[in-house]
Amino acid sequence: MKKIRLATIWLDGCSGCHMSFLDIDERLIELSDRVELVFSPLVDAKEFPEDVDITLVEGALGTEEDLHKIRKIRERTKLLVAFGDCAVTANIPSMRNPFGRDEMLKSLYVETDALNPQVPAQSLPELLPRALPLHHYVHVDVFLPGCPPSANTIYQVLTELIEGRIPDVNTLTRFGA
């Protein structure tokens, strides 16, 4: 049986969804019989590969770099999963949105830093005006809310997706779960 090519990525989020993914525990071994993890913070691939079957995207889109990545991922992925509340709703990263990017940067790096007040400009990707959910920019196939989705939820959804079925996530998880 051909293995499913699975990728996971962590954008504007806290990595909690990936932690919850690891909480699948020994079932990870069972999963590894069915999937090949081709790209992830958990493996060593540097470039997002072609022909990925399923990608779990954790985090909102907060920078130009995130946008660049999500567009490439969308091109190269059959089934894109918005993995957790940040990817689904922009969640915590969106808490900066009411204040605006420039006002936030000024408040954090200029007004509250007495020694070296400056907005970091070099070697950092530019912040988008607002942190937004994935589906604001690209088509999303499966929405998996939760902060984070529980290990059981992730396991059940993944096994269904591997079997080629789209699971009903509403019975498993919710915003803020």
Binding site: N97, R174, F175, G176
Partner: protein
């Protein structure tokens, strides 16, 4: 108790026959008979206002949608409580509520106890199709015991009604119209300075979300207690 002038009306809900007395609403009859109609602004014990529009039902023949909480059935009415059109509108209402303010469940005092959150899950809202507005609101923490976070307010008006109808203080009201509507204290003064607020906390406990909360509660700690409401409402109506 049947009064001499009481009339009973017969009608159908989802194809099955039901009857109601003069003062019963469609929602009353549905709930008595285990028919699930989602609601947010409705709360047993305070007057229905049909504000949230979640309980809209279809009346066969007219194609009209009416709020089940504020509509009394009429003789021969054919009421539909669930179909793709209604489901679509209900989802849309919940999504618009989420998009209008900053409901961030993960860091909310009412996470896990919130009616907006649970109704979203029940209706299958697992993402919001509309653009988030991300408005900017101030919090009012001027009251010694309670606080209000307008980011999580859905303008259901429960706090306004319970304060007026049950507590009799009418400290709360709404200002502005449409998307600019805000729940205010007295003439829009800080809550802590209100001369009319009795500090009873009824508004806090009828609030369906984390908009009104007790101070000192952290994420997911603010469960609401409403057991007082049916009793007080009964007393107010002069019941025994």
């Amino acid at each position: 108790m049947m009064t001499p002038t009481a009339t009973v009306k017969t009608f159908t809900i989802d194809g099955k026959p039901y009857s109601a007395t003069e003062d019963e609403t469609i929602l009353d009859v549905a709930r008595e008979n285990g028919i699930d109609i989602p609601t947010l602004c409705h709360l047993e014990g305070i007057l229905p206002t049909g504000q949230c529009r979640l309980c809209m039902v279809e009346i066969q023949g007219s194609g009209r949608l009416v709020p089940a909480c504020a509509t009394k059935p009429e003789e021969g009415m054919e009421i539909v409580t669930d179909n793709p059109r209604l489901r679509n509108y209900r989802k849309m209402i919940v999504e618009l509520l989420f998009s209008e303010r900053n409901h961030i469940c993960a860091v909310c005092v009412s996470n896990g106890h919130c009616e907006l959150q649970s109704v979203a899950q029940k209706l299958g809202v697992n993402h919001v199709r509309f653009a988030y507005l991300h408005p900017r609101f101030m919090l009012d923490g001027s009251h010694p015991k309670y606080e209000v976070d307008h980011n999580r307010c859905i303008l259901c008006g429960r706090c306004v009604r319970v304060c007026e109808e049950i507590e009799g203080a009418h400290t709360r009201d709404l200002r502005n119209r449409g998307i600019r509507t805000m729940v205010i204290t007295d003439f829009d003064t800080p809550w802590g300075e209100s001369p009319t607020c009795t500090g009873c906390g009824k508004c806090v406990h009828v609030c369906p979300t984390g908009a009104l909360a007790e101070k000192g509660k952290s994420v997911a700690e603010m469960a609401k207690r409403r057991h007082f409401l049916p009793y007080l409402a009964l007393r107010r109506r002069g019941g025994k």
